[in-house]
Point group: C2
Chain length 78, copies 2
């Protein structure tokens, strides 16, 4: 799970465009971005991916111009 802050006012189109940009190059790092959720009011965005490492996620998000504020592996889920 990675978290972006400071995305206040993000639109559905912005979110889709950012997600599509990640999907376009994610294979370079063996990452797959599965979902993203955004709160335009607070500017928080959460992205869930399957990835070999947090670093791999960090590199994809940096290349596509929206670096993550935090990246946390989430090995447990229900």
């Amino acid at each position: 799970m990675d978290v972006h802050t400071g995305m206040k006012g993000i639109s559905k189109e912005d979110l889709a465009a950012a997600h599509d940009a990640d999907l376009a190059i994610e294979a370079e790092e063996g990452v797959h971005f599965k979902h993203a959720w955004a709160d335009p009011q607070s500017g928080m965005v959460y992205c869930l991916s399957e990835a070999p490492s947090a670093e791999a996620v960090r590199r994809i998000h940096e290349k596509t111009g929206h670096p993550a504020s935090e990246i946390h592996p989430v090995p447990l889920s229900v």
Copy 2:
């Protein structure tokens, strides 16, 4: 999306028990907890729910003994 901090060392069983406790009473507030993801190393837990309000989520998590550190409505998703 709500976030819990300070859950270092959480186990798969702990996460499942907490989630089940939420599911058991979520209808009181018209909430449905869909997924939760945890990082035992950093102690971060993320919960995704459908809910009428952040306050409704806050009340369920408080009643089940694991208050959320942050709750952000996420009206946008991909």
